[in-house]
């Protein structure tokens, strides 16, 4: 079902935890659907120097959170904003069709945390002009026939 990469990130997730006094915190998903991702960022000079996450959700929700933190850690804000769900899926060597929505959630969690950072700083980040943190990004791409 899951690639080895997914299982590795699920069983040994990187960057689990919280950051006290984080510069940006984002939370996406909802309990109804069974996935909640919370992401904490420490940002210095436009660079993400630390990132932690907590996730309630299925194996791929945890794995996508984990790999997303790895993919943005040490990156500039602008680079982090370029993270796509597709890149997350590829980095994990693929996800089952009905789990692709988890990668969307991971992308949105990063954006949500950066949006929070921007709001606290009262700045507007390029690419997040239209971002709505409370929107439901949870899109189960199911195969109903």
């Amino acid at each position: 079902m899951y690639s080895e990469k997914v299982m590795d990130h699920f069983m040994n997730p990187r960057n689990v935890g919280e950051i006290e006094n984080a510069d940006g915190v984002g939370q996406v998903g909802n309990v109804k659907c069974g996935d909640i991702m919370k992401m904490y960022l420490k940002i210095e000079d436009d660079v993400i120097v630390d990132v932690k996450f907590k996730t309630f959700g299925c194996g791929s929700a945890i794995a996508t959170s984990s790999i997303a933190t790895e993919m943005i850690k040490g990156k500039t804000i602008q680079d982090a904003l370029k993270l796509t769900n597709r890149a997350v899926v590829e980095a994990l060597d693929g996800l089952p069709a009905q789990k692709v929505h988890c990668s969307v959630l991971a992308e949105q969690a990063v954006k949500s945390a950066l949006f929070d950072y921007a709001q606290k700083r009262n700045i507007v980040l390029e690419g997040l002009e239209d971002f709505k943190p409370d929107e439901d990004h949870h899109d189960h791409e199911e195969e109903h026939e």
Binding site: M11, P13, V31, G34, T55, F56, C58, G59, A61, E142
Partner: protein, 393 residues
């Protein structure tokens, strides 16, 4: 993963060696078509008759009241569609519950789109129906009550005898899905006034792909599969000969072993429940405390999600199941867990471990040792758990 511990007997069971041994000759040597009149056909027919007899005996029915099907789902579809279309001049109302297996539920939903009316009875926090609600639901348009014997997720056993008596008194046909109950509970269709009953071989150490529908003599029911004259012209299709033979043997064994089976599985279940409740907080045991299947345990762990629990267990070789949406590929968690009043959050954290004849005490002890660590690890990762850490909740 050095060992595999199977705790998903409610999903399916292995075929017992004795059962397989009885089946084997019917693949390669005694392979005739039971409808043929030559010697190969006659020996096949005879084997089907023996199996039919064994199943009839196991539920107190007559041989000619047992009709083999391709499984429990087909039996459910047949019973329900067969009855309502054969009796539609009498009425168009069906009564069922909110916690039926999908084979019943989706069949009822399909019929709703085709002019039938369906009442879905509520259940209480233990998964029990309210017999008064059932009584009040019966109208002069009611033609069928289809109500499961025992629930596959939470193990709750319904008051079938009361329901049967009520159905008989009110002259409404009564079908019960006993796929989970058969082999775990003593069933006599006459004592319980059951008119139709679905059972399936692969839940009782028989093969997959074969089931049966008990149909009381005199019940007016249409065929679901049209064609050849098999099963007394009621269910077309060349009989699944080895499957039927295996089902017959499995049913016979199940009846012979019923008491030891119940004692064995119930004692391991109690050990598992106690072991986990002793070690883990914020966990609930779903289903009825007394009226329940002996081998079924259904936990709801707060703050974590079922699929990640299953995957973690699987990495240790432990196989379980969950009512979490993520495991079923659907958007919502199990309709059964919702019906007993769990919140989405808690329903997502459900774990079903079902115990069977091959489960050993050391398997249970291994689970008691490992499961709490997994729950703890996942909770440490969960944003929902933060708030209660340190016992603030």
């Amino acid at each position: 993963m050095n060992q595999r511990i199977y705790l998903d007997y409610s999903a399916t069971t292995p075929v017992k060696q004795e059962v397989l041994n009885e089946m084997l000759p019917y693949f390669t040597e005694k392979f005739g078509n039971p409808s043929s009149i030559h010697s190969f056909g006659r020996e096949a027919k005879q084997a089907v008759d023996v199996a039919r007899d064994r199943i009839a005996k196991a539920i107190g029915a007559k041989q000619e009241e047992i009709f083999f099907t391709g499984g429990g789902s087909e039996a459910d579809n047949w019973a329900i569609k067969g009855i309502v279309y054969a009796n539609k001049e009498k009425g168009n109302h069906i009564i069922t519950t909110k916690i039926e297996h999908h084979a019943v539920l989706h069949t009822c939903e399909y019929l709703e789109k085709n002019g039938f009316e369906v009442t879905y009875l509520d259940v209480d926090q233990y998964g029990m129906i309210d017999i008064d609600q059932l009584k009040n639901a019966i109208t002069d348009k009611t033609i069928l009550i289809t109500l499961m014997f025992a629930n596959n997720e939470i193990g709750t056993i319904q008051p079938i005898k009361e329901i049967g008596a009520l159905a008989k008194e009110r002259k409404v046909y009564f079908h019960t899905d006993a796929v989970q109950a058969f082999g775990n509970v003593n069933i006599n269709v006459n004592d319980l006034n059951i008119d139709m009953m679905s059972i399936s071989a692969h839940k009782i150490y028989g093969p997959k792909g074969v089931g049966a529908l008990y149909i009381r003599k005199g019940v007016k029911i249409n065929a679901l599969l049209h064609g050849g004259a098999q099963e007394r012209r009621r269910r077309a299709g060349t009989e699944n000969l080895p499957g039927i033979v295996g089902f017959g043997k499995a049913a016979e064994l199940a009846m012979q072993n019923l008491d030891t089976h119940i004692t064995h599985t119930a004692s391991l279940r109690d050990r598992l429940v106690k072991g986990i409740l002793d070690k883990v907080d914020f966990v609930k045991v779903n289903g009825h405390p007394i009226h329940r299947l002996p081998g079924n345990v259904n936990f709801a762990f707060e703050f974590i999600e079922g699929e990640s629990l299953l995957l973690s267990l699987d990495m240790l070789g432990i196989s379980g199941s969950s009512g979490s949406a993520c495991t079923s590929g659907s958007l919502d968690p199990s309709h059964v867990l919702m019906a007993i009043g769990l919140t989405h959050e808690i329903a997502h954290g459900s774990l079903r471990l079902s115990i069977g004849d091959f489960t050993k005490e050391e398997d249970i002890d291994y689970v008691i040792n490992e499961l709490p660590k997994i729950v703890d690890r996942l909770r440490q990762m969960s944003p929902l758990y933060e708030k209660v850490k340190g016992g603030q909740k």
